[in-house]
Amino acid sequence: MDTLVSLRHLYGRLLALCGLIAGLMTFAVMCLVCANVLMRYAFNAPIPGTLELTESALPIMIFLSVALTQHGGGHIKVTLLTQHLSPIPRRALQVFAMAAGAVVFGWAAWAGWEMAMKAYSYGELERGAISFPLWPVKFVVFFGLALLAVQFLIDAVLAALGWQLPEMAEVLE
């Protein structure tokens, strides 16, 4: 179990790096949109492609962060009933919950991979004031979903071994 826990820790550092990229992108989008407003009013010269870049940044921001949020136990759940259970059934339900997450996001990641490959095969472009390939964004969506599925898988195994999964409070201060 200790190796798995340290593996989870190592995995968390990868996820933190992805999250940092997502955070910096959020800040960059803020700057871009503001710069566009200022350029529009000060010089009647909006920055071409602001809408297209912002639109494509959002999926990257979201899917580079979903697994990190799960790593810290930050996704919403209802503990109304489970908190009153005795340890064994509670652990069983937790394994079930984590395995369900691995299944649905593994499925979604596989589906996302197929869609990304399809977009790549016909060279899908984002078109507007500026143009750029859209398929890399779709690969990021796949990548993020796959990271999330792996996180659920690790946690399913750890929960089965009786390790206490982190709750949100430990991450968000």
Partner: protein
């Protein structure tokens, strides 16, 4: 046959959520498995393959992380503490004064934001720590914020009202204006609900001991200044046509960032990295649920369960207010587990013709139904506003606290629905004056 699958799906969703499965996983897994049962595994896979990208690939939705960022910066800039210092000097002697001023603040902020979830997030960051630090009951504090978020959808601008206008071919300009008076009245109704709740149980909201002189009160207005500036920047920016909502979010974030730098005399105290991480955590959580709710609502639509309910309604031969009551019950029931835009998309094609054939005004029904689905945003088990309040609370409240605290406010929502039925002019007065 499919309807049975739909019913089984609904039962499985509730069971999974109660078993402690992450809400997004429950929605996604039941939705996708249900789709596979109805149209096949291959087809369900295709929906999973497109929905995550297509929902997030949107300029319009970028407003959510930007409003989040703005809220976090506003917190770092200490706008929350300052505002509450000011409001306690003015309203602190009143029981529940902070919760009341939060409601009024959210109404004011709602004149800038069209997002119920976004407003709930900002005010969780602004008001929740203040209320808790001053001894407010967790349930009252968190629930008053969750419901106050819905004011942003009533008071224009409101993306949900635009969705209604498009789905039903009603006047968008008229609809947006129609929400103004009901939004303000609902804010007042919520304040009364807080006052009554606290009057019944004074322990929920301690009274500030200090007495302030008029001079101190007036001096406190300067503390509220920066927040007023932020709200003015956004309200005026939107109304004068200087910004689109996404731009207002970015400008608001930049402005509060600058205020935070000024307060901490430099970048160091702003904790930029932590702020960005909090923003992406909450954004990821909101979008993950939003998208999985979409998968589930696609399943619900294809199963024909939503459709069957509408067909039943049109077949009834009773007083039209009985149908209004039934329609309301259906929205409250579906609103328990679905998000607002998906709920409108599925139900309006059924309920709107029914309501029109009964002689109701399309604009009135628009405001009525938006209030209904917004009540759904705070009811368990899928109450997106409550999730957001809990997620933004930094672990200081539990989801159960928020849901339990909401009882008086959901009752206030029912009261507002009845007001709208008795006085339809609340919604119809301003649109009828348009262009005169």
């Amino acid at each position: 046959m499919s309807i049975e699958i739909g019913l089984i799906g609904v039962v499985c969703l509730f069971a999974a959520i109660l078993a402690g499965v992450n809400v997004m996983v429950a929605l996604g897994l039941v939705g996708a498995a249900g789709l596979a049962a109805i149209v096949g595994f291959h087809a369900a896979t295709s929906i999973l393959g497109t929905v995550f990208f297509d929902t997030t690939h949107s300029f319009h939705f970028s407003v959510i992380p930007l409003f989040l960022l703005m809220g976090f910066f506003a917190m770092r800039a200490g706008l929350g503490e300052d505002m509450f210092e000011a409001t306690t000097r003015w309203l602190g002697n009143m029981r529940g004064g902070l919760a009341i001023s939060t409601t009024l603040g959210a109404a004011a902020f709602g004149a800038a934001s069209g997002s119920s979830v976004g407003t709930a997030t900002v005010f969780t960051k602004l008001a929740l720590p203040e209320m808790l630090n001053r001894g407010y009951d967790k349930r009252l504090a968190s629930a008053s914020i969750a419901i106050a978020g819905t004011l942003a959808v009533m008071i224009p601008p409101s993306s949900l009202v635009v969705v209604y206008g498009i789905l039903t071919d009603s006047s968008i300009g008229g609809l947006l204006i129609a929400g103004f008076i009901p939004g303000i009245i609902f804010a007042i109704v919520l304040c009364i609900a807080i006052w009554l709740t606290v009057a019944r149980n004074p322990a929920l909201a301690p009274r500030e001991e200090q007495k302030f002189t008029l001079r101190e009160k007036l001096a406190s207005l300067r503390l509220a200044g920066p927040l007023v500036l932020v709200i003015l920047l956004i309200v005026l920016g939107l109304y004068l046509g200087i910004f689109t909502p996404t731009e207002a979010g970015a400008m608001g974030a930049l402005f509060t960032f600058v205020l935070a730098i000024i307060r901490h005399r430099g970048l160091k105290g702003v904790k930029l990295r932590e702020t960005l991480m909090e923003t992406i955590h909450t954004s990821a959580m909101i979008f993950a649920i939003l998208i999985c709710a979409l998968v589930f609502s696609k399943f619900l639509a294809l199963s024909g369960l939503a459709n069957a309910m509408g067909g039943f309604l049109t077949g009834l031969q009773v007083n039209r207010w009985v149908i209004v009551a039934l329609v309301s019950l259906i929205y409250l029931a579906l609103g328990m587990m679905m998000d607002a835009p998906a709920l409108l998309a599925i139900t309006l094609p059924i309920t709107h013709p029914v309501m029109m054939s009964l002689g109701f005004d399309p604009i009135w029904f628009g405001i009525f139904v938006v209030l209904l689905v917004e009540i759904g945003a705070v009811t368990p088990p899928v109450g997106i506003n409550c999730f957001v309040v809990q997620a933004s609370s930094g672990g200081r409240v539990k989801l159960e606290d928020v849901f339990r605290g909401l009882v008086p406010f959901v009752l206030a929502g029912f009261f507002m629905l009845i007001l709208l039925c008795i006085f339809p002019e609340l919604a119809l007065y301003l649109p009828s004056r348009m262009g005169n």
